[in-house]
């Protein structure tokens, strides 16, 4: 191998630099987020917790298409309580703290959904007079 003296230290420096965030954080990925359970004490969601953890974004898209495109606004009953399909109309009725529920995981995983560009979070609603 030619230029062994340059290449091998160069490679080592490269690998260390690329993996530096891992070393910097001491091989830890930070504390796992603990999304807040509904403050109202509701036990059941529209689907199982495992399904929601993996697929809440799929369900939200399905609801969106149902409500906006197919005109299917049939409400959903969970534990005898009726909810209209929608982020503001259903989800946030129980998960009433977006910062402690949605944001805790989204920030951890660096996911930036644009839901709240338009939709009103409970904090938004509390910040102003409502109808």
């Amino acid at each position: 191998m030619y230029n062994k003296k340059l290449i091998i230290p160069g490679l080592i420096i490269f690998v260390v630099l690329v993996t530096s965030p891992i070393w910097y954080n001491g091989l830890q990925a930070g504390p796992m987020p603990k999304p807040e359970l509904p403050p109202g004490g509701e036990q059941n969601c529209v689907r199982s917790a495992a399904y929601m953890r993996d697929n809440h974004m799929v369900l939200l898209n399905e609801w969106r298409d149902d409500v906006l495109r197919n005109g299917n606004r049939v409400s959903i009953t969970v534990d005898g309580k009726e909810y209209r399909k929608g982020l503001q109309l259903a989800c946030m009725k129980c998960h009433s703290n977006k910062e402690k529920f949605c944001d805790s995981c989204h920030e951890y995983t660096s996911v930036k959904p644009y839901c709240w560009d338009c939709h009103l979070s409970p904090a938004d609603i509390a910040s102003k007079e409502t109808l």
Binding site: L68, R69, Q88, L89, I125, L131
Partner: protein, 271 residues
């Protein structure tokens, strides 16, 4: 070896022949029902012959301006009701205005109907304008993302703000100026929130949705509800001959905005 080659050539020849003749065969043997539905679809569009066949629900509105002459405060009430229910932002600068229903002078609402010697009452009053929920909506034709579309079940021209990329083709397409673009963030410019409805973000186009979110709850559109005691706006199904709306349309002479464009608006005016 020779035998196999001969077999191959035969199969290849037969396949080529089948491929070439397939369209003709399909055309000749297509079922009459298929042909009929083709014809039906063509007739349904009614581009050249007669009126459309009424099918399904098609929501419409008749605005009786006679009940609103000299009462601009009533019109403001309806506008306010609509805009607050739908979290429509208010911008001072007219250039950035966002509106779902608004007032305009007669010659702007009905440029086709302007005449030299018109009644004074026309000049003294303003007229309601809103999305016409056309049968042939030009905005839907030009939308590159299908963010705006016609709901087949109700005839409402709806918007899916999630898909809107803010290209504003629909604003060019709409001959009624019924669409507004959000140049700025809406939330800081909304006075009161309706917690049951979303706001919009910067960079999307918005317009009247015929209260598609209120109808399934058994409520009438907000503007209709606001003027309920005057009966100035009547909402209903244009395809239902027994609806109050149709009874008015059958009795009273009405006009529409820019009827010559062939968009077939669902909003009718009594002036």
């Amino acid at each position: 070896m020779d035998k196999q080659r001969r077999k191959f050539l035969k199969i290849a020849g037969a396949t080529a022949l089948a491929g070439v003749s397939a369209p003709a065969v399909v055309k000749l043997t297509s079922t009459p029902s298929l042909a009929a539905s083709d014809h039906g679809a063509a007739a349904g569009h009614g581009d050249s012959h007669g009126e459309e066949q009424p099918t399904g629900i098609r929501y419409g509105m008749v605005i009786d301006m006679r009940k609103l002459y000299g009462k601009p405060e009533l019109m403001d009430k309806a506008i306010e009701a609509c805009h607050s229910v739908h979290n429509v932002p208010h911008f001072e600068d007219k250039k950035n205005e966002v509106k779902w229903i608004w007032k305009m002078p007669f010659e702007n609402v009905f440029p086709d109907h302007s005449v030299y010697y018109s009644a004074k009452i026309k000049e003294e009053n303003e007229y309601f304008a809103l999305c016409n929920h056309c049968d042939h909506p030009p905005c839907v034709r030009v939308c590159p993302t299908k963010a705006t579309f016609k709901m087949e079940a109700t005839g409402i021209v709806a918007m899916d703000y999630h898909r809107c990329i803010g290209c504003r083709f629909c604003m060019m397409g709409c001959p009624y100026g019924a669409r507004s673009f959000n140049w700025f963030d809406a939330k800081p410019n909304i006075k009161k929130y309706n917690p049951d409805f979303s706001a919009r973000t910067r960079g999307v186009v918005e317009k009247c949705n015929f209260c598609a979110e209120r109808l399934p709850l058994g409520k009438e559109p907000a503007c209709v509800e606001a003027l309920k005691d005057t009966g100035a706006i009547v909402f209903g199904d244009l395809n239902d001959p027994h609806s109050e709306l149709r009874k008015i349309l059958d009795k009273e002479p009405t006009i529409q905005r820019k009827p010559t464009l062939g968009t077939k608006p669902s909003i009718f005016y009594i002036v």
